[in-house]
């Protein structure tokens, strides 16, 4: 008799429906709120069109600035994180396996430190950073790279475990590949799933980050949304919805592009 390990189709459907509803209720509530015409009932797109109305450009300037800053922060953070983490993890895996545990400890450490404590430590560092790079919002990426390290490390590590990179690297070396080629043409293509997962989770963390930006007096999406919510709660909800939609879209695109290539040679 075959032992059934996977849940049945019905169970999966029920679980997915329940989880879907739990996630959907607040999103639908936000959407409903953003479409309200006034306190007496009725719905229209007034609050949505108002945000993009050139007449209100001055009112929402900070909000758009926050969105732009967050997008720049997301890109810079992902790039820095990948440049820092991928070669380090590959090097440790291939050449210095005894450093695997210390590296894991270092990468997971930020998750145990509350953001407020992190800011206390980062504040003097940022006074030095500001001297070299100015007080531009993108400099927050240095802190964000630390913040996303635990999640990114786990995503890449899971991929590293599933692929026998040591044998692949040795096979490539015996075929005449130098170390640069081994990493670029053999290791990285096989870590694409892990790297994309790390990138997605990093973007999500950066788009949702408030504490560090707020305490270091930088404007990002979350600080701007909080600021605008005091005067225009509809705009805050609309931007929160747009950020969510952007996140979903990103997940969808990255999910599709992370599928292994099946192109003919």
């Amino acid at each position: 008799m075959r032992t059934q390990i996977a849940p049945s189709r019905t169970t999966r459907l029920v679980v997915l429906t329940v989880v879907g509803v739990i996630f959907l209720i607040p999103i639908v509530a936000m959407l409903e709120f953003s479409l309200r015409a006034g306190l007496d009932g009725g719905y229209n797109l007034g609050h949505w069109t108002a945000i993009f109305d050139p007449e209100n450009e001055r009112t929402y300037r900070n909000l758009f600035r926050g969105v732009t800053n967050s997008l720049i922060l997301a890109v810079v953070t992902v790039v820095l994180m990948l440049i820092l983490l991928v070669p380090t993890m590959v090097l440790v895996k291939l050449r210095l396996p005894r450093l695997e545990r210390p590296l894991e400890l270092i990468c997971l450490l930020p998750i145990t430190i509350p953001a407020i404590v992190l800011v206390v430590g980062l504040a003097p560092v940022y006074s030095v950073v500001a001297r070299f790079f100015g007080a531009n919002a993108w400099t927050l990426s240095f802190a964000y790279v630390i913040l996303v390290l635990p999640y990114a490390y786990r995503a890449i590590q899971a991929n590293l475990i599933s692929v026998d990179v040591v044998t692949l690297a040795e096979a490539a070396r015996t075929l005449g590949a130098g170390w640069g080629t081994v990493i670029a043409r053999v290791i990285v293509p096989n870590l694409r799933r892990g790297m994309l997962a790390a990138a997605v989770i990093s973007v999500a963390v950066v788009l949702g980050e408030y504490t560090i930006a707020s305490l270091l007096n930088r404007i990002n999406l979350q600080t701007a949304v909080v600021q605008v919510s005091r005067s225009d709660p509809y705009a805050a909800v609309i931007f929160a919805l747009l950020a969510l939609a952007f996140g979903f879209l990103l997940l969808f695109i990255l999910g599709r592009s992370s599928r292994p290539s099946r192109r003919p040679s």
């Binding site: 692929v163 026998d164 044998t167 692949l168 040795e170 096979a171 490539a172 070396r173 015996t174 075929l175 005449g176 590949a177 130098g178 080629t181 053999v186 293509p189 096989n190 694409r192 292994p260 290539s261 099946r262 003919p264 040679s265």
Partner: protein
């Protein structure tokens, strides 16, 4: 019933590579707290297939990895075509290697995998494609170029790995237990295929295995390793019939360990007196290593009782228990027609064939 051939009936061929002389001179490899290789000396003549045989942890894979440049030697030197390559990185040693683990690049097709080495050597695309196709044809997978590794069986993956290793016409082919992950039938087929291709191309080959049957089947010569040293190197026949040590006698082929008495280079076992192959054991009580086919079931010798008798096609193998204090069990190989029943009383003696002994 006949087995389906694993290879095409008229396999296509690559141009012969021509062999290269390979030499390991006093190679020592130390890991923290472990001396994996303890002065290994080994010469591979051009076009020769040498098997490194030994139990797990004896250093055979380390020796191969040192030759490949995947491990740095602690002392000694490695020479390929009389050139000292000890300090040359792996990617410049011009080797082909097949690994124990499946090592095809999962993101590339079979054809792209085979082309990889040629790409590293900047071979023009057209030539690259033609040579890769030839190499795939050689291993009988010419039709599988567009597939990915996960779409192939284990045996097919190792054949692609072999094609990939051979396509660059390397000076030396290194095989690190390439068949150990495969099932018995596929293993036997691929073993013969490796030998055919190696002979056809005349490529100097070092093959590592712990499977003595595999070693004896494919090798020109076998080097038996133990605790980081080569105990004996010779043809499969030499190793089997004239082992130089108890370790080799015990590791290669079936062996009976029988009590005997050594005196002036002759050992008395089962009522017979035969000469010994190793002369470094002092006279006295010894254990003699005797092949099953060197034990005779006859009218003379030590008395014993038959335990079991198995029909093995071309021969019969019978287990008998000696009527001695420790009741040692002896394996005897004899004619199929000589049928013995469990419980039957027999007598055992030895053929006049030199044996290895060790102090008891």
């Amino acid at each position: 019933m006949t087995a389906t051939p694993a290879t095409p009936t008229t396999p296509p061929s690559l141009d012969p590579v021509g062999g290269t002389r390979v030499e390991l001179r006093g190679v020592v490899k130390e890991f923290p707290g472990l001396r994996a290789l303890d002065g290994v000396d080994l010469v591979l003549d051009p076009g020769e297939l040498v098997v490194l045989l030994g139990p797990s942890g004896c250093g055979k894979t380390t020796a191969l990895r040192c030759l490949a440049g995947l491990e740095e030697v602690t002392a000694g030197s490695i020479h390929i075509a009389d050139e000292d390559v000890s300090g040359v990185p792996t990617n410049r040693r011009d080797l082909g290697m097949v690994f124990q683990q499946y090592s095809l690049f999962p993101h590339l097709t079979v054809m792209e995998n085979v082309e990889f080495g040629l790409r590293m050597r900047k071979v023009p695309a057209e030539d690259r494609r033609r040579r890769s196709q030839e190499s795939l044809d050689l291993v009988g997978l010419g039709e599988h170029g567009k597939r990915y590794a996960h779409q192939l069986s284990g045996g097919q993956q190792q054949r692609v790995a072999l094609a990939r290793a051979l396509v660059t016409r390397p000076r030396v082919l290194l095989l690190d237990e390439p068949l150990s992950a495969l099932d018995a039938k596929v293993r036997a087929g691929l073993r013969d295929e490796i030998r055919r291709i190696q002979t056809e191309l005349g490529i100097t080959t070092l093959f590592v295995t712990h499977d003595q049957e595999e070693a004896l089947a494919v090798a020109d010569r076998v080097a038996v390793m133990n605790e980081g040293r080569i105990e004996q190197i010779g043809t499969p026949e030499e190793l089997y019939s004239t082992p130089v040590s108890p370790f080799v006698a015990g590791f290669v082929g079936l062996t009976n360990r029988l009590p005997g008495t050594l005196s002036r280079g002759m050992v008395s076992v089962l009522g017979a007196t035969v000469s010994v192959l190793n002369h470094n054991v002092p006279d006295g009580e010894v254990t003699a290593f005797v092949r099953p086919e060197d034990v005779i079931l006859g009218p003379e010798g030590e008395s014993a009782s038959v335990l079991t008798s198995s029909f093995l096609g071309s021969l019969r193998r019978t287990h008998v228990q000696l009527d001695l204090p420790d009741h040692p069990i002896v394996v005897v190989q004899h004619e199929v027609s000589d049928v013995r029943r469990p419980g039957e009383k027999v007598r055992l003696t030895l053929r006049d064939h030199a044996v290895v002994v060790e102090k008891r």
